[in-house]
């Protein structure tokens, strides 16, 4: 991920946007600047060049005109009679000649005038009197410009113009115009006018339109060098002194010009400065002419423009960057806010909302986000409520499951008990039957033996007169003992018989017949029976019976014989418990029974409660076991409650529960379903 793209992707959105803004804004800007600049430079260059060329043209015209005028002057002068006469009549009369020449020197810018004989002898000199009589062909003058001009003119028989020459005396530049003088087609001499560089310098040094650095330079080729004719602006003392060798790297324009070439361009001048120059050749004078201006000045507006553009180039990107950043921030800020909001939401703060004053897509996004948060909040709140509700439901279910489990356990215990009792029942039935037969014999034979004993006693009484009294008494004693024994046998046999009978009741082969029975009536009847039964045994016994029968209980499909046995049994026990307690507590205790019925939704509930001795906790779960009894031997078989349980639970699909507190109360609760 170290590619530029990767780098770009890691940038913040605002930075990315700012970069794009810069690119979009600056690319055209740079193009415009570039082309404007180029165009400005080009047009400025063209303008300056045109200007230089115009100046060049003007000055060239002026210089040529000046030279042509001078040539005309000399030509005219060569034909004037005074000059011809002067040369023909040597020294005859120089006065008219003098006047003629003076007219030129006063009106023109001539400094001197010479008349030279064809042999080189100076016939007349207006100013330089020392030259009068001197021969220009002599070695002393031969190399001087005016001697050369004379020589060429006399030889070529035509007007001649010398180059500028620095005068040895003054150092002033001098130029000579020479023309041959003819009389009747015969060369009689040469007239020569000396002119100065003043006019040329004036023209050349007219810097109008050339600013601070512009100038005109004129030079002439001599040998392999260019010699400046007029002092240049930047170096006034160098006229006729400065020489630039051909092929040099500097002063390119003037070297081009002196070689007869014409052109324009940016070149290095004699000073080594870059200039914008136009150059041309002045054929009449054999001069090269350069009009130029320093690039620095000529293109100064370009510099200003460049500065301006540079300023733009700096200021604009900064402005663009500022705007870009502002815009980018305005775009990325909401995104940052969104992210912040998303983070908050991630941390679980669903109440956080984005506050954006924007009506655009981002505003819409923020709105959607807020909606989403709202919905999520609602959903989660809902979910919380749902979870709470489910938890509560689960709690309830758990409770009901626990209840179910408890009931299951109870049922399991009941089942175990039932199974136990069923097998016990089977066993007891078998035992009972096996015992019953021999017991019958015991009882019957005991009865018979009793009868026999009584018969024997009667027989002894009737026969006592025959027997001795002592024997009778002895026999009677024995018979009395025998009688007692037989009675005891019968008594215990009957007891055993009642046990066996109880056992057999437990395991009756076929159940009794069910029929709709008014349970309230049945209950009342058997409770009363139990009470009276107890009263029959113990006349001192008394108990208050509180009855509250719910008439809604009505008829239930039950086996009345079986159920009555249950009622009787429980009521009997209750009475027994109160009697026992009374025996201990005496008068302070008032025995009470509460008999209640109550209609439940799908079953009837019967409660038989006594405030008797109660059942100790440790034996409370054994009371339904067969043969379990707390009564003294002979008073209970231990089968009553076991049988009752069997009848209620197995026989009627009901419930039989017991609640008790030792010394306080015992309550049996029967629940009988209406539909079994």
């Amino acid at each position: 991920m170290k590619s530029p793209m990767g780098f770009y992707k890691r940038l913040r959105i605002s930075t990315q946007l700012a970069l794009w803004f810069l690119l979009i804004a600056l690319a055209p800007f740079a193009c415009v600047v570039y082309f404007t600049y180029r165009h400005s430079v080009d047009s400025l260059y063209a303008e300056v060049t045109n200007n230089l060329q115009a100046i060049s043209q003007r000055q060239a015209d002026q210089i040529e005109r000046w030279a042509v005028e001078r040539q005309r002057d000399i030509t005219t002068l060569a034909r004037s009679p005074e000059v011809i006469q002067g040369l023909v009549d040597l020294k005859r009369n120089s006065e008219p000649l003098r006047d003629q020449f003076l007219a030129y020197t006063e009106h023109g810018d001539y400094d001197d005038a010479l008349l030279i004989a064809p042999d080189g002898r100076v016939v007349f000199a207006l100013e330089k009197k020392e030259l009068q009589g001197a021969n220009l062909r002599s070695p002393a003058y031969r190399e001087m410009e005016f001697a050369k001009a004379f020589d060429r003119s006399a030889t070529l028989l035509d007007a001649e113009i010398s180059a500028f020459e620095a005068l040895p005396a003054t150092g002033q530049a001098a130029k000579y115009f020479a023309a041959p003088v003819f009389e009747h087609r015969r060369l009689v001499g040469v007239v020569l006018l000396q002119t100065n560089a003043r006019e040329i310098t004036r023209v050349v040094n007219d810097y109008t339109g050339l600013g601070q650095t512009g100038e005109t330079v004129v030079a002439r080729l001599r040998g392999r060098e260019a010699i400046f004719m007029v002092p240049p602006r930047h170096d006034p003392q160098t006229a006729l002194k400065r020489r630039m060798p051909l092929g040099g790297r500097e002063a390119v324009p003037i070297l081009q010009a002196v070689q007869g070439r014409r052109g324009a361009g940016i070149e290095t001048d004699y000073r080594g400065v870059r200039t914008l120059a136009t150059w041309r050749y002045l054929p009449f004078l054999h001069w090269g002419m350069v009009v130029k201006i320093d690039v620095a000045e000529a293109l100064a507006p370009i510099g200003r423009l460049r500065f301006l553009f540079l300023m733009f180039g700096v200021v604009t990107p900064i402005l663009v960057l500022l705007i870009a950043l502002t815009v980018a921030r305005s775009i990325s800020q909401p995104i940052v806010q969104l992210r912040h909001a998303a983070d908050r939401m991630k941390q679980g703060d669903l109440h956080y909302r984005i506050d954006l004053d924007q009506r655009n897509e981002i505003g819409a996004l923020a709105e959607s986000f807020n909606d989403m948060a709202e919905r999520l909040d609602a959903v989660i709140t809902n979910l919380d409520a749902l979870v709470a509700a489910r938890t509560a439901e689960l709690g309830l279910k758990n409770d009901s499951l626990e209840n179910a489990l408890r009931q299951l356990r109870e049922t399991q215990q009941q089942l175990i008990l039932q199974e136990k009792m069923a097998s016990l029942g089977g066993l007891t039935a078998g035992i009972a039957h096996e015992i019953k037969n021999p017991l019958n014999f015991v009882n019957n034979f005991a009865e018979l033996s009793g009868d026999l004993t009584r018969e024997l006693k009667q027989e002894i009484e009737t026969q006592q007169n025959r027997l001795d009294a002592k024997t009778v008494e002895y026999i009677n004693d024995l018979l009395s003992d025998l009688e007692v024994n037989v009675r005891k046998i019968a008594e215990h046999g009957k007891r055993a018989d009642s046990i066996v009978r109880g056992m057999l009741l437990h395991s009756r082969g076929t159940p009794g017949e069910r029929r709709p029975t008014d349970v309230n009536t049945l209950l009342d009847e058997y409770v009363n029976l139990a009470y009276h039964g107890m009263r029959a045994q113990d006349s001192a016994f008394n108990v208050t019976i509180e009855k509250r029968y719910d008439p809604a209980v009505g008829n239930i499909d039950v086996v009345p014989q079986d159920l009555s046995r249950v009622f009787l049994n429980i009521a009997n026990n209750a009475c027994y418990a109160t009697r026992e307690k009374k025996r201990v507590n005496g008068a302070s205790y008032s025995p009470t029974l509460w008999i209640k019925t109550h209609r439940l939704e799908d079953r009837a509930e019967i409660r038989i409660r006594d405030n008797g001795t109660g059942i100790p906790r440790e034996i409370l779960d054994k009371v339904f076991n067969p043969f379990f009894t707390t009564k003294p031997t002979g008073q209970g078989t231990g089968l009553g409650l076991s049988m009752s349980y069997d009848i209620v639970v197995a026989g009627h699909n009901g419930e039989l529960l017991v609640e008790s507190e030792e010394g306080s109360f015992t309550e049996f609760i029967l629940r009988l379903p209406y539909k079994s």
């Binding site: 039957h433 019953k436 037969n437 014999f441 019957n444 018979l448 076929t510």
Partner: protein
């Protein structure tokens, strides 16, 4: 009146003989005993026993069942009176006995006074 008592308990004979001693002495009752259903069927064919008019039979016996005996007797000689004596006080056996045509159903322990009355009643009716 001749009565055949069918019971697998041999002591039944002793008991019955003592219980009905007066009737036996007076000669108004003649008791015969059989230890099983099969024996009872054989005895019924014997001379002297053939004149039996009442059979008192236990139900629960090894071999032939009392009720089976009842059914056979009633098949052979419907005029014979048969009274079932049993320790089982259940309606199913009672109903079967009645369906087979039993003339009485007595549960143990035997109430001899009642049995005596029933026997005497039969005798009075039969003669």
């Amino acid at each position: 009146m001749k009565v055949l008592v069918v019971d697998d308990e041999p002591d039944v004979e002793l008991l019955f003989r003592q219980k009905f001693r007066r009737e036996l002495r007076a000669g108004s009752l003649e008791l015969h005993f059989a230890g099983s259903g099969e024996e009872a069927m054989t005895r019924l064919a014997e001379p002297g026993v053939a004149e039996v008019v009442l059979i008192l039979s236990d139900i629960n016996m090894p071999g032939m069942h009392g009720l089976e005996l009842l059914r056979r007797i009633k098949e052979q000689s419907p005029q014979l009176k048969v009274c079932m004596i049993t320790a089982y006080d259940d309606s199913e056996k009672y109903e079967t006995a009645m369906r087979y045509g039993a003339d009485g159903y007595v549960t143990k322990p035997i109430d001899f006074e009642r049995l005596r009355r029933e026997v005497l009643h039969l005798e009075a009716r039969g003669t």
